[in-house]
Symmetry: C2
Subunit: 348 residues, 2 copies
């Protein structure tokens, strides 16, 4: 080649390997705390973002989604899939990547894996909601569904909310064993339970995170006592819910972005005008969060583009002056921008 691409042509890329190196370099609990601060910062300026429900392409087996947002200066989007049956084929249920771009030029400035990053941001966001909604002094978590998200939830709730004990249940005991093995030595008391009912005993925080593209009832009404906070993570697309409707009726429901949650969240079981509170309003003090000891608070989490934006922004800020990225020759950059063809010809 006669000419090397200029710096503008390169997009920093964080591979899975580099993301893992970055996590270990920062330390996972520190990272979750920092990431939670980035998410909270963006929830505080919620109104400054362009918001659309994610653009979903549904198929029989799953969904592929694009989740864009912009604050006017930075644009970000995530590509993410959700294929519950993937696990049986040795593949991830959820995998993804994301891009951050400069609104002024439209040029991408970051490409990163987002399978790990989504797991981290989902956990950080649950912990943020829990810190604002759980009863004071809550230190016991019932973690129902011990799949790929479970360890991240447990560590985020430990680092951000002070959880000390995790009561684990999964329909597959091997999943619980895996989670307990992975969390060994992380400073959490762990209790393996034989049912969801057993898991919720004494827990002030319940996180459900199961994956099944069908209406499921992971928690029934009788299991949920007064005063708890629930993070319902697994119900995140049409036809996929985890909680019995009666639990919703006893709870105050907090959501990310109502137009999306009404399609994808637990509240898809309810009428279109079912009352919900936007979480960002609780965080900014514009709406009430927990108002009483016996109140059940429900964070009906589906994952929203702004959380990915925060995560992308965090990674972008954290890879500067490190070796945790490589430059991808992803953008054509002719010396004269009108001379794309000339660039092509000179490469002969």
């Amino acid at each position: 080649m006669n000419s090397q691409p200029s710096q503008k042509a390169f997009v920093p890329f964080v591979s899975v390997e580099n993301m893992m190196r970055l996590v270990h370099h920062i330390g996972i609990e520190t990272l979750l705390v920092e990431l939670c601060a980035f998410v909270e910062e963006d929830f505080k300026r919620w109104e400054s973002f362009d918001k659309v429900p994610r653009i979903a392409s549904h198929s029989k087996e799953g969904v592929i989604e694009l989740m864009p947002t912009s604050d006017g200066d930075i644009y970000g989007f995530k590509y993410v899939n959700g294929h519950p049956k993937n696990t049986k084929e040795g593949l991830q249920t959820v995998t993804g990547f994301g891009v951050l771009a400069d609104v002024a030029t439209g040029y991408p400035v970051l490409l990163t894996e987002m399978t790990l990053l989504t797991a981290l941001r989902t956990a950080a966001t649950s912990a943020m909601a829990t810190r604002h909604l759980a009863p004071r002094g809550a230190d016991t978590l019932a973690m129902i569904g011990n799949g790929a998200q479970s360890e991240f939830q447990a560590l985020a709730l430990k680092a951000i909310c002070g959880v000390k004990t995790v009561r684990l249940y999964d329909i597959d005991a091997k999943a619980t064993e895996k989670t307990m093995r992975n969390l060994q030595g992380q400073g959490l008391n762990m209790v393996a339970c034989h049912s969801a009912q057993e898991a919720v005993q004494g827990a002030q925080i319940i996180t459900t995170c199961t994956a099944d593209k069908q209406y499921a009832t992971i928690l029934t009404d009788n299991m949920v006592g007064a005063g708890v906070h629930i993070n319902a993570i697994g119900g995140d697309c049409p036809g996929k819910t985890e909680l019995h409707k009666d639990i919703l009726l006893r709870s105050d429901t907090f959501v990310e972005y109502p137009p999306q949650t009404r399609i994808e969240g637990e509240i898809q079981q309810m009428a279109a005008d079912y009352p919900v509170t936007e979480l960002w309003k609780v965080i900014t003090g514009q709406a009430k969060g927990r108002t009483g000891e016996r109140q059940i608070t429900l964070f009906d989490s589906v994952g929203f583009a702004i959380e990915d934006f925060s995560a992308l922004r965090y990674v972008y800020s954290r890879i500067k002056n490190t070796t945790y990225f490589e430059n991808l020759d992803m953008l054509a950059d002719p010396d004269d921008p009108r001379d794309l063809f000339g660039m092509l010809q000179r490469a002969k």
Copy 2:
């Protein structure tokens, strides 16, 4: 690292350099002919695609768009920006990248630069429309706007429609000089013109491809004689048009996807029910294209996701068993898909 990622974790990536190598390996005219065949194949099965207008994020200076589509087996999307003012800063007006994914698993199977590829697919699509709509024996092209797309247009119309002569005009004479220099030795007669009016003399095909985010009148009514075919390429976002309304009123207008073209194309100047014909219907014989010698046909092109899908599909088919890609470690792939955390821990 204890474990290397498996093959599933890798996504083939076509860099700008590799795209240029691929173009030279195949030969640009052969590539345009093959690419046109892929686009036409997908236009013929238009009804089998998921179609949505692109998801645009507009700012003062430009637009960032996501253009997804799926045929039920393969999913594709393009990220593309449009920033007319970029040229002044030495950046491309339009740059982009694209992804192809497997609907069954949601896993991406191709990431590629799409700045060059968009230029190629835009030209191939114009040529496809021209072959179906231009008068028989048309061999002279007026190319108005001699920016980054102009050489691709000229070569596609040569290779696919038999154009022999290109009459060039740009408001900036240097742009015309650049295009003539680049097309030297490509077997085209070239005539530099001093006005749009001069350029259209004797041309049966007119392509307008200028970039200005404001209503412009590149062609006025008196310039357009009976019987010509026009490709209006440059008007492709709200507020950006190139043709005087009176030309539209004298023409039969052919479009890609009406809901998008009514927002972005030349017909944004017209009423919401202004009659248009979908190009795919002409190609499948369900609608009439050119019906008379004096008819003016207008391809009001804005660029649609299916054309990018075809281009991605083409590149995917053409890089197999070549060295024109590299594998990116973009997807987390733990041995046990539920054990994302374990994979992270083992990387310590």
